[in-house]
Subunit: 344 residues, 2 copies
DNA sequence: GGGCGGCTGTATAACGTTGTAAATCGACGT
DNA sequence: ACGTCGATTTACAACGTTATACAGCCGCCC
């Protein structure tokens, strides 16, 4: 068996609690005593048993992070950011993936592992507000695009503004028929902030927001983007620009354009969202909205920890905006040049 | 406070242990009693406290998975496979990323969170055998490419054979100058099984294994592949094929070829490794060695659990081979056609 | 010089669960 | 009817930690 406080106490000839005090850096311990106990700790190679500590303290030191899918590099990079941010506070991260399925999201949000975790960071896709009524045995922080009016902290970039910046960029290039790829099939339209940004910016520019140029999809991967692009082209339309819900979809769309002999950006300009690494190495590099993933991860962790230490009821759930930038690359080369920045 | 066994026991008018017996499906409980206790459990919404259970049982129900980086989609997909496989056994996964830095890998392998986890699945990059001497407070399973002669289970595909299959494929296409991108800089060469496969197959075909066509890199991302490709071209060599350590590097390399006006596969054929989704949607889709990630994840989890239940010393650490296939796509279109399969 | 108060260190009781051993119960064979 | 035996249930003691309350001890003030 491993060495416990009791063993160390016996070895040092002091009480268990004194050892505990040394381990926890309790203030009132004589330097001499601290030294003596520490020597025993080192000699025996003692390390605290977290299960016991957590049982006693009611905290586990673990935060769960529930993401739709790890295959999407945006979420993978975000996960890395959360893990690092949590590590900075001595917290560790338990990873779940929901597949973006409502059932799984509900399960996770209801804390089906509530007894193991201190808090939950959830990036929902299909989750509906009513799924979240009065639960949360642990602090819950929401990430991402949906527009929830719920008593939980919510970390996101300003998706509407970011989408408008992307569409503005395309309009500045002189594009007039701008398709949107990746509206979520079967979900209430207004929830889709990026579609709303697309619509608002077109309208503001005096252009028609032609719903025939909006392609809904079931998923958000390369293949979904490719399907959507193909559907638009087969409908007889040929837009001069495409704004995709995310980078993998944009890249899938570009593949279809390539197959049909359409040149990017000459024939069709393409803008993605998330700025994943992959977009910087295709035959045509991809212009994209680049959310500050590190900030999002950090803010999410901090929000959880604030609730945790906040002794119960913090005044008001906060909606926190992270920064984003629009990074221009080859897929929208043209008149507009360089990188544009915007602050969230 | 939350409801505990004691509360349920009081509510049902029985002893704590009886409730515990019901919860744990203990054999000798009257159906009537079981029913009655269950009703109280449901009424109070009882759920076991894992910290306490684990303190008592010495198991946490958590497996740690330590990967070099989540940004690489191969590892992200592998993580998803491990999470699913663990879930099938009621285990949950704690995710770490080491950045492939030896220091971090040593830290993880030494079980710096040993008190939280029951087992560890580690995919090492820089870790050296001597770092693993006589530790393992918990079962350790190694993943991946390195060739360890150590008393730990090791799950991998046959990297040498897989690399040979890839090179064979290029040779079958008539290619004769085949570069290798992604030898690990500063590490002992023999450890690199994929380089060895490259060398062996060339030699077997009577071709020179020209070390001038091997490019070492520090990392394994798109940018590293691009750098390596650029260095080879700038050295004055122009190979007619490239075999990359992984897909991101292959894609980075293709980007450089594209920039220099070299056509894939006409001028240079390219083969990657890992078969990540991204490779299927570039302007030129990527031929790649496709490891069976689900199998690897499943086998790794099963190996950990076997040690865990194996009452201590299982006879011998096992090296388990997972399957792989070579999937041909546009980047090697030519004489050879279709998909080739190999069994690991 | 007696008492006060600030430092140190200690004994003890939890936290919620499960393993062990013992108590209870009913039925059965003699 | 009584002892026995197996099936069921219970009491109690852990698991390793920290919070609480308290016991010494010292110096210091009046």
């Amino acid at each position: 068996m491993r060495v416990s406080l009791k063993d160390v106490a016996a070895h040092a000839g002091v009480s268990i609690k004194t050892v505990s005090n040394v381990v926890n850096n309790y203030q009132h311990v004589t330097p001499a005593m601290r030294e003596r106990v520490q020597r025993s700790i080192d000699a025996l190679g003692y390390r605290p048993n977290l299960a016991a500590r957590h049982l006693r303290k009611g905290r586990t030191g673990i935060i769960a992070l529930a993401l739709p899918e790890l295959g999407n590099p945006y979420f993978a990079e975000l996960a890395a950011a959360v893990i690092d941010a949590a590590a900075a506070h001595d917290y560790i991260v338990l990873l779940d993936h929901t597949g973006g399925r409502r059932e799984q999201e509900v399960l996770v949000s209801q804390g089906f592992r509530a007894r193991v975790i201190d808090g939950l960071i959830l990036s929902p896709i299909e989750l509906e507000p009513e799924d979240l009524r009065d639960q949360a045995e642990v602090p819950l922080v929401l990430l991402g695009e949906r527009d929830y009016a719920l008593p939980y902290d919510h970390i996101a970039i300003d998706n509407v503004a970011a989408a408008r910046a992307a569409v503005r960029h395309l309009i500045d290039l002189g594009r007039r028929e701008i398709a949107f790829i990746g509206a979520r099939r079967g979900r209430s339209e207004p929830a889709q902030l990026r579609v709303r940004g697309w619509r608002e910016e077109l309208t503001a520019a005096g252009l028609p927001a032609d719903e025939g140029l909006v392609a809904a999809t079931d998923g958000w991967g390369h293949a979904d983007g490719a399907d959507a692009m193909a559907r638009i082209l087969e409908s007889g339309r040929q837009p001069d620009a495409v704004f995709a819900y995310n980078d993998p979809m944009a890249i899938g769309a570009m593949r279809v354009l390539h197959e049909r002999g359409l040149k990017v950006p000459e024939d069709i300009a393409v803008v993605g969202f998330d700025d994943v690494v992959e977009g910087r190495f295709g035959a045509v590099t991809l212009t994209s909205v680049s959310p500050d993933k590190d900030a999002i991860g950090r803010l999410a962790v901090e929000a959880v920890l604030a609730r945790l230490s906040g002794g119960g009821e913090l005044p008001e759930p906060r909606r926190v905006w992270a920064d984003y930038r629009l990074v221009q690359r080859e897929s929208t080369l043209g008149r507009a040049a360089g990188e544009r920045s915007a602050q969230g």
